[in-house]
Subunit: 200 residues, 2 copies
């Protein structure tokens, strides 16, 4: 689909279409919106991208992204040093931080072991995880991984790696999501929720 608006806009459309959530058609709509609102949207967005591109670094300690290295979370002295939360991806770290669910430090694996996608343990940020978990201050490693086959495979693998260390390895609870309707839940979740039932 050639655009009648020149190669610059066409290139912008192609790059926008590579963002998750935007297809070729919505990228075209987005590009047009950007062109129309050149002063209020396009110029600020170009500048914001430039700034992020120049300043954002991957934290050498935990794998988070931030403008400083180590990141703000790793430098935050008020966080519980005894707990290390292992996540697959920065987006999971962000989700946990948004929820304010835990005030600890993180370790971002950069993915999960996956036979299908050809991701082997060597591809993940696992070597430094063992080092960090060996810190005497760390007493618990919480595996906050997706409840998928790949996530659980990775969790088992990490449990084996950390077996020689005096840390407690934990995982997230399974059960009914808040606001969830039993009727729509899968059998595995219902079985887990029954098995791990608690006092009312």
């Amino acid at each position: 689909m050639a655009s009648p608006a020149g190669p610059e806009i066409e290139r912008l459309i192609q790059l926008l279409a590579r963002l998750p959530g935007l297809g070729p058609r919505s990228a075209r709509r987005a590009a047009l919106q950007l062109v129309k609102r050149r002063e209020t949207l396009l110029a600020p967005l170009a500048e914001a991208m430039q700034q992020v591109s120049e300043r954002v670094r991957v934290c050498s300690v935990c794998g988070n992204v931030d403008t400083s290295d180590p990141c703000a979370i790793c430098r935050d002295e008020t966080r519980d040093p005894s707990l290390l939360v292992v996540v697959a991806d920065v987006s999971d770290l962000w989700a946990l931080e948004r929820a304010g669910a835990v005030r600890a430090r993180y370790h971002v694996l950069g993915g999960v072991i996956s036979a299908l996608d050809g991701v082997r343990p060597d591809d993940l940020n696992l070597a430094t995880l063992h080092q960090r978990a060996a810190d005497p201050a760390v007493r618990e490693v919480l595996l906050a991984l997706n409840a998928t086959v790949d996530g659980q495979t990775t969790a088992h693998y990490i449990t084996a790696i950390l077996a020689d260390l005096p840390v407690r390895v934990t995982r997230l609870a399974h059960g009914v999501p808040i606001g969830g309707e039993l009727d729509y839940l899968d059998d595995g979740t219902l079985a887990a929720a029954i098995r791990q039932r608690g006092a009312f």
Copy 2:
């Protein structure tokens, strides 16, 4: 939702969320994708936006967007000078060009008359339309406007404006879309398709 990744990324997320097709959640995913693929996606996208921001202009003749003014379509001597296609928006112009439906020149109104949205005729690019339609070379003005109430109101208004000129004012045909199923079509479309039926 504060991001644990600093104000630069937060600003990028907020700006991305203003693109059509991206909400706050998908903007966050897109920003993360950009940060992860800094070299291959973020930097090229920032540069493409910068280029578009600097080079793209609105065509002073037809209202299209292009890197030149007049735009490539207005300068294209091979196009039929006797037909002027009136569209509401640049996206409609792009759609017609993609379809290769017509090799003529366009006139972009920049919207349609809408009582609900407070768009009055003065807000549209109508003054120059009369001038352009008065060109002796122009023999037909095709109103390629949406088949909505606002689109048709605008079409009627334009017909009245151009009544003093010796041009033929036409509109797009109504009927069954190619690939469309009768069962799912509204009564108005079906009635129009019957009314304007042709020989097989």
